[in-house]
């Protein structure tokens, strides 16, 4: 297990390394050199200031030296400085990270658990109404823009029915504490988590259904049937675990998309996470923050990948034993 984890961590390091290089290249590929851009952001575009910035950030040195400096800064936790907000990017990101982690992790759990359950239900009832209903709903959810679902849910559940808060992380000024505060946050989470989770639940539902149908046609399921097992037992003991494996693999790969989706959801619900930060940075063309967001979301993706890999090992005994 230790070796397995080390292996995954090494892979993660490579991914992050490439993201850092990509970030660096993007800054330099941007129209106008970074100093001009930064000067623009700082609101002072005169040549003196630009030259001073150039010197300060070593922009007059060869590219590979600059890359070295950039990497060493990142290793020290320095992700640059946002002139717009007059704060280090790392601080801005750290402020917003917890809200995004809470949102994406909840949505991921909901999507995975719900998707596997619904997909299996559809596969077991293949051709019957339950299957058709699940398939149609999944097809629709899969085709709907995530932000629009969020808006429509707000329209129904907040504006028309008034059941749930439409935006924010908690009620401001309500002065909740302890358990009451937790409940308040939970109520605020329902719509964003549902919005983000629904789309990916559709993805995993479709995948689980297809995978379960494929597993059901395999020889060992026939063997199980020949033992006189009930259909329920066959599904829970033989089909389920085998059908989950490909879903987990894809869920790991798609974690990046889910985290990307959270940007849209956070924008809709004014959720105080990285998404809101991104939206504001886009409006203000705050590149340092955008690149920081890209880096941090990549770290998150890598973390999600390790989680799904561990889940995979738990489901498939062969991986660990074979090592």
């Amino acid at each position: 297990m230790l070796r397995f984890l080390l292996n995954r961590l090494a892979k993660a390091a490579v991914v992050l390394g490439v993201v850092v290089v990509l970030n660096f290249l993007l800054i330099h590929a941007a129209p106008g050199d970074p100093a001009t851009v930064m000067a623009g952001e700082a609101g002072a575009a005169d040549q003196m200031f630009v030259d001073q910035l150039r010197k300060q950030f070593g922009l007059d040195r060869p590219l590979h030296v600059q890359l070295g400096t950039y990497v060493s800064h990142i290793l020290q936790g320095d992700l640059g400085f946002s002139f717009r907000q007059q704060r280090p990017v790392a601080d801005l990101l750290l402020d917003r990270l917890p809200a995004t982690v809470v949102l994406t992790l909840s949505a991921f759990t909901l999507a995975l658990a719900g998707g596997i359950a619904l997909g299996l239900l559809a596969a077991v009832n293949v051709g019957k109404w339950a299957d058709s209903a699940i398939t149609v709903v999944a097809l629709l959810s899969y085709a709907t823009p995530i932000y629009w679902v969020g808006l429509m849910l707000v329209l129904v559940f907040s504006v028309n029915l008034g059941w749930l808060p439409a935006f924010g992380y908690e009620s401001i000024g309500a002065g909740h504490a302890g358990l009451a505060r937790m409940g308040d946050i939970a109520r605020h989470m329902i719509l964003p988590v549902a919005t983000l989770g629904l789309f990916y639940m559709a993805v995993y539902t479709r995948m689980t259904r297809a995978s379960a149908l494929e597993v059901s046609s395999m020889d060992f399921v026939k063997t199980a049937r020949a033992k006189g097992q009930s259909e329920w037992r066959i599904v829970t003991r033989h089909v389920l675990r085998n059908a989950i494996l490909p879903v987990l693999t894809v869920a790991g790969v798609q974690a990046g998309q889910l985290i990307g989706g959270s940007i849209l959801v956070e924008t809709v619900f004014a959720w105080p996470g990285l998404g809101r930060l991104t939206f504001d940075a886009v409006l203000q063309r705050d590149y340092q923050v955008l690149l920081g967001v890209f880096f941090v979301t990549s770290v998150l993706v890598v973390a999600f990948n390790i989680v799904t890999d561990v889940l995979y090992v738990l489901v498939d005994p062969r991986v660990e034993i074979a090592k």
Binding site: F220, K222, T223, A226, K227, G228, N242, D316, R318
Partner: protein, 553 residues
């Protein structure tokens, strides 16, 4: 259907199939998978159901177990009586109580028949959990007992293993242990040895026979192989196009078949005796001489298995003379196909030399190999994978010469000629591969090889995917063409009976080594290597010499 009087009729049949008809989905080329099938299975006997692919031989077995794929296949008429009770009309729960308890089944593909994510012990225990109220310890003890009974070493350890640790033969033993765990009245075996090597097949057949004798079970054994029938059957049912054409005692059906179809089937079997012609005397220097060819595959680690090395050619020496047919026999993984692919240049060996027409093929790069390539051609094993489904048959045959600069029109005219030569109609040129049967596709494959005007033809298991009757035809065609064009041929097969019949010289391979090579009559008549003897000994149905007087195709 009349019972043969020679057999003493036991008190009551254990299983009785009465007018069973299973319907196929609409729009197929047949309305029924099986039609009006009648037979009985008595206690303490082995009944073999034999037939070619598509004869419906395993549909009945699946119907008995209630395993017909729903809703594609359904029972349209007839009954299946187990101890007088009709399984077809039984409630699902009642059927389940029979399944795996009184009637057990094993399947063709041991590699996929076990759940890869569950320990062997747990999979065998499942049947006990469902049908008995044995406690945990008792179940575990029974599992160990069963694993020992089917001859697996270290049953305690195997009980805790996952299937991927076991070989195909071991997995089939596990399947048998699982089937026998509840001491069933009937064991249904659906081609249980088809996917296994011949020596493993022998062990499994012996095991099934021994267990049947010991427990006096009834065994319904489905197979396509008359050798296997001769090895194990008490009675035989021959099926064709969903009907039983002949049913009787094994001795009678095998030696005095009454139905023309049975006679044709048996007549088409390779008799497995080396031809009575004198040993091949080379008239010229070898056209191909392989010296010290070796190759090791480094199998990359997967998510499941680690990295390992596989020796596929272990310093092999081989000569092929003009006009000679050299056979390579051996079990899967023996390296016989790799050797063939090395000679045609599909696999680059790690070392050694292959002399052909004055050049060492191994030393040549791809460009240098090109002039020699056309003279060494190959016929492949799988008729369904060896022709590009998107090209017409004429194109497929003409492509090689065109790549070598023959004008397209000329190449196509030649292709039409060759297709006639291999016995296909003129219209074949413009058609696509999917319109042809397996045997016809192998003919196209042969025409494609011939289009290159080869000096050496390599046939890699060219008939192993075909039914016995078609096998005989394709073999005959190969022999004729070889004779007519004076080709040298390297013939690779796992079937020793075929090798004995058509090869001048036979080499036996094991784990990448050529352990024995010599004139066919010698290798089969007085084998020197113990492995050759083991292989020969494992050929099923050796005690039986198929009657030849009926003449095949």
């Amino acid at each position: 259907m009349s019972e043969t009087p020679e057999i003493a009729e036991p008190a009551a049949p254990l299983l009785e199939i009465r007018g069973l008809t299973v319907a196929l989905p609409e729009g197929g080329d047949r309305a029924f998978a099986v039609e009006k099938i009648d037979y009985v299975l008595n206690p303490d006997e082995i009944l073999c159901v034999v037939g070619e692919s598509g004869s419906g031989k395993s549909v009945t077995a699946h119907a008995i177990m209630g395993l017909l794929p729903k809703p594609d296949l359904r029972i349209a008429a007839g009954g299946i009586l187990f101890k007088g009770r009709n399984v077809v009309t039984m409630a699902e729960a009642e059927q389940r109580r029979l399944r795996g308890h009184r009637i057990a089944m094993i399947f063709q593909e041991p590699m996929t028949a076990l759940n890869p994510l569950m320990r062997i012990g747990a999979q065998i225990e499942e049947a006990l959990e469902i049908h008995t109220d044995l406690g945990k310890a008792a179940r575990a003890a029974r599992v160990v007992e069963m694993l020992a009974a089917v001859g697996l070493p270290n049953p305690e350890e195997i009980r805790k293993s996952y299937p991927f640790r076991l070989s195909g033969g071991q997995r089939q033993r596990v399947m048998i242990a699982m089937a026998l765990a509840l001491k069933p009245d009937i064991l249904i075996a659906d081609e249980p040895t088809t996917a296994l090597d011949v020596t493993t097949q022998k062990q499994i057949l012996d095991l099934i026979k021994a267990i049947q004798r010991e427990r006096r079970m009834a065994v319904l054994f489905i197979t396509h192989d008359f050798g296997v029938v001769a090895e194990i059957a008490d009675r035989v049912a021959v099926m064709r196009h969903g009907r039983i054409v002949e049913l009787g005692a094994a001795e009678q059906v095998l030696n005095r078949p009454s139905h023309p179809y049975t006679r044709a089937l048996i007549g088409a079997l390779p008799h497995g005796r080396p031809a009575d012609k004198p040993a091949f005397a080379p008239a010229a220097a070898p056209i191909l001489a392989a010296r010290d060819v070796h190759k090791v595959y480094r199998v990359a680690g997967t998510r499941v298995g680690g990295r390992r090395e596989l020796v596929v050619s272990d310093h092999v020496n081989l000569d092929i003379h003009p006009g000679e047919t050299v056979g390579l026999v051996g079990e899967s993984g023996s390296g016989k196909s790799t050797l063939a692919r090395t000679i045609v240049g599909l696999v680059k060996p790690d070392g050694g030399r292959i002399d052909f027409a004055g050049a060492d093929l191994v030393a040549l790069d791809r460009e240098g190999f090109r002039p020699y390539r056309r003279h060494v051609q190959m016929v492949f094993q799988d008729p369904y994978a060896s022709l590009n489904p998107r090209h017409t048959v004429g194109d497929i045959v003409a492509q090689g010469p065109v790549a070598y600069g023959t004008p397209r029109a000329e190449a196509r005219a030649r292709a039409a000629e060759l297709l006639r030569l291999v016995g296909l109609e003129d219209s074949a040129v413009a058609r696509y591969p999917h319109e042809f049967s397996g045997g016809q596709r192998q003919r196209i494959s042969i025409a494609r090889a011939l289009a290159m005007e080869p000096k050496l033809l390599i046939a890699d298991e060219p008939v192993s995917a075909l039914d016995a009757s078609v096998q005989a035809q394709v073999l005959k065609l190969l022999a004729e063409i070889k004779e007519r064009l004076g080709l040298a041929m390297l013939f690779i097969t796992h079937d020793l009976r075929i090798a004995a019949e058509i090869c001048d010289t036979v080499g036996v391979m094991k784990l990448g080594k050529l352990v024995e090579i010599g004139p066919a009559a010698e290798v089969f008549g007085s084998p020197r290597h113990p492995y050759t003897r083991a292989l020969l000994d494992a050929i099923p149905g050796q005690g039986w010499a198929p009657p030849q007087d009926h003449g095949g195709s």
